[in-house]
Amino acid sequence: MSAPARSENSVRLAAHLRRRARWRWPEILFWLAILAAIFAVPSRAALINEILIAGLFALSLDLILGLTGVVSLGHAAFFGLGAYAAAILSSEGIADPTLGLVVSSLIAAALGLATAPLLLRGADLTRLMVTMGIALMLGELANRNSWLTGGADGLNIAMAPVLGMFPIGFTGQRNAALYSFVVLFLLFALARRLARSPFGLSLLAIRENRLRAGALGVSTSRRIIAIYALAAGYAGAAGALLAQTTQIVSLDLFDFHRSADVLLMLIIGGAGYLYGGIIGAAIFIVLRDVISSATPEYWEFWIGALLVVLVLVGRERFGERARQLLDRLKRPAAWEEAA
């Protein structure tokens, strides 16, 4: 083949293939806005911290559900494991947060690697049951082995300052939020890079049509195992962050509602474009905060209503409507010309 001529077509093609790789302004503003919020409302730093951690947890689910199309109703298994690993490490004297975070998320990733082969066969329903079952088993293991986990009492832990300088926890809420912010941003940037790579493209292909992906030479099983282990590591990191910044772990970390909530957050924010988890987590947690201070018993009613509307009306339709409107504003007569 001769050297490619830089025709109009090849310029368009190269631009199309790389279109999502560059960081765009709205994205940069998004991250700056979070950072600004941490400094602007230090009184709500704990809430922001909770959102960031839930956002990381939902990002982790997006890697398998949104990118790859693998469903899970037991993602709390990795979240809880990461949290307990961080807590146990700290009670064993490893009080450095960053070291604890890395080790905990590696432990969660190892569990992901070990259980991923269970997800290769069967349909979505099988996967929902298998993932749920693993989370149940882990929760029960934590309950029974109270010598290690504190059982129903949970564990209280003490952490050293981050990087030896920034104390986190009850007296350092803003530092805690900043710590979670930095971890979330770094892991997000990695996920973003990965999603735009050939590997990420092959995950999309598996989601879209696993049969054809295999027929193009993609080792679909290996790719699913790899992304599942990575997602488990992300979920473990989120759990470790929660344990370290709240300095307490308890058995409810493995609860079914954790797995369900994170799925809700991702669906509310939109799966498959990586920001959906963070946006969904923010909507979910802020709504819960606002509504539950008004009607403490009934906040789930409104979350439920939001979910029903989103699923029935369809976010795509919202999005498409908005795009059509924008297009019409930009080119008022375009549709008339076409007619």
Partner: protein
Amino acid sequence: MSAPALEARGLVRRFGGLIATDNVSFSVEPGARQALIGPNGAGKTTLINLLTGVVRPSAGSVFLEGEDVTALSPSRRVRRGLSRTFQINQLFPDLSPAESLGLAISERNGSGGDFWRVAGGKANIVAEVEELLGRFGLEDAMDQPTRTLAYGKQRLLEIALGLASRPRVLLLDEPAAGVPEEERRDILAALAALPAEVAILLIEHDMDLVFNFAKRISVLVAGRLLCEGEPAAIAADERVRAVYLGEDARG
């Protein structure tokens, strides 16, 4: 060098008591233009699945350029040079044709697992995507989601994806199935323009297409290979006629 591009030796596949493939041996020479025909229920689909590795044979083996690939998974066989298209479109609805082709090319050259490089960042891959888009007349639609493409364009993308794996043997499963008359010519032209060095095995119902395209025809009936030969010989064969006219095959 003298080995056939693709060879089946004594392939048998039983589903319970049913014998879907009954001791089929045949070969496809390098660069061949061969067709596999047979009435409904003759076992064409099972045979394709055996060749591509989707279904394991009860007995017999499959050779690709002289090497036994019977134990290899479908994706391994693709990387060894055996690729296929599907009778019912198997595309990626939300990816564009350019992305789908880029994916196929990176998988072929072994960079499909690369998670650090930006997709579309390699000039040689982009150039190859462009060449394939041009060959199949897909330039205009290259950046549209595949689900929005006209059906005929989707059929062309099916073939383009099969070719993007740069196969030695390409199995085309009813490439013109369901294509409206006015778009058929594009498919026929694309088939005629396939690279000469790629061996093609065409599985087809449409006799016009078969007799236009194939230099050699294999006829499958009730899981067995009934006969093989040049189009003229097959057209004149009494047994083949009998099968297609629904008469007693022993006639």
